[in-house]
Amino acid sequence: MEKRENLNRNLAQMLKGGVIMDVTTPEQAKIAEAAGACAVMALEKIPADIRAAGGVARMSDPKMIKSIQQAVTIPVMAKCRIGHFAEAQILEAIEIDYIDESEVLSPADDVYHIDKRNFKVPFVCGAKDLGEALRRINEGATMIRTKGEPGTGDIIQAVRHMRKMQSEIRRIASLDTNELYEAAKQLQVPFDLVLYVHDNGKLPVVNFAAGGVATPADAALMMQLGAEGVFVGSGIFKSGNPEKRAQAIVKAVTNYDKPEILAELSEDLGGAMVGINEEEIKLLMAERGK
């Protein structure tokens, strides 16, 4: 494999066991860094506000992203629209650490994702199941996250996506080698990627949870379901006490299997984001880009 792709997979490995937080200003970025975030996602509006505002959601202003790069020393990520390789080129030009080709923004192409192998900067992409994850990896994504349902504060979709992915991985691992060709055909992915999953029982890149994480318990749930780290979008800065909640979620990801510690850090966090149930929403962002 090409060295650059390896280095980009390696950066995701360094983020494991950590929390990546959505921030919209340098001040929020500093709060996130001080709370222990392992990276921040710079964007103009957090998903809950994108959902509320409606209209076309696009890449953020590079000036705003640069102001966040200057405010913190941890990696800074930013989103581009699905298929919008020109936005990705702009993000690469300002030396972003990771690009999220994200269904949170309005898709720019309803057929093609970005050919991510054309870029030096790494990409993370969302996936609902193993097929989507491996297709994105084949296009050059070096990190995967569940899609979940962004901006809802409702964990059900992230759980659904993570469970589906893990159960498909277990199924592939259990197959006889000569059955993998058919599995590759059904998943619409190259044989080599299916073989990797079969031999290793996991994706060839790091897999985070995202979309709907609002509490330390949500983060612990996703980690116990097999996530290697967590993205938190609207859940922090739409809550009553962002600083305290951010710190609690960071600790919950480290000690995700210690209920006594989780109980202690879940105390007195103030109001969680109100959220919105999946049957109440009109726009399913997770259905964008398959």
Partner: protein, 180 residues
């Protein structure tokens, strides 16, 4: 022999895999109770140093870890683990470190180079890496890449700015285990 791996955040699993290859037992330290277990050495992995420092403090591990290192516990720090041992963090090693010394992710690189005490070039993966700007008393420089110090040892402590755990070569882990 049993090695504790600080597993607050970062690439701790990769170190466990390296030790497994060498037939050495290890366990993860995520809280003060884990730290109580008997150990012959400690690995501090790569990750984000701000996150790891914050969790060391919040989970009441900072003093306990620092005291054992000062008392002679062999320790191996990679990347963020190197930063954790410097004068601004756990302050157990006489080194001054420049964080993100090669810039952002586009500055990450792979190199094969010399390491004092290992008789061949070893793979070195640098990910948003730091380097050591200056060293004080008792610090032995083990590797220099492009004029910058990227590995060093002070008595019971060895550090690398790169990530030996990300490549197949187990030489640096073996070097550390020989210190025990």
């Amino acid at each position: 022999m049993k090695i504790a791996i600080l597993a607050l955040q970062g690439a701790f699993e990769e170190h466990r895999q390296m030790l497994l290859k060498l037939g050495v037992e290890s366990f993860f330290v995520r809280n003060a109770a884990d730290w109580e277990r008997p150990k012959d050495g400690l690995i501090i992995p790569g990750g984000e140093s701000t996150t790891i420092l914050k969790l060391l403090n919040d989970l009441s591990l900072y003093d306990a870890v620092r005291n054992e290192i000062l008392a002679g516990l062999p320790v191996f720090g990679t990347c963020a683990g190197l930063i954790m041992l410097d004068s601004k963090h756990l302050n157990t090693m006489n080194i001054q470190v420049k964080r993100n010394a090669y810039g952002r992710q586009l500055g990450s690189f792979y190199h094969e180079g010399k390491f004092d005490g290992i008789d061949r070039n070893i793979p070195m993966t640098f990910i948003r890496a730091p380097y050591i700007e200056s060293v004080g008393n008792r610090v032995e420089i083990l590797s220099v890449v492009d004029g910058n110090i990227v590995a060093a040892r002070q008595d019971n402590q060895v550090v690398t700015a790169f990530h030996p755990e990300l490549n197949e070569d187990t030489a640096v882990h073996e070097y550390f285990l020989k210190m025990i």
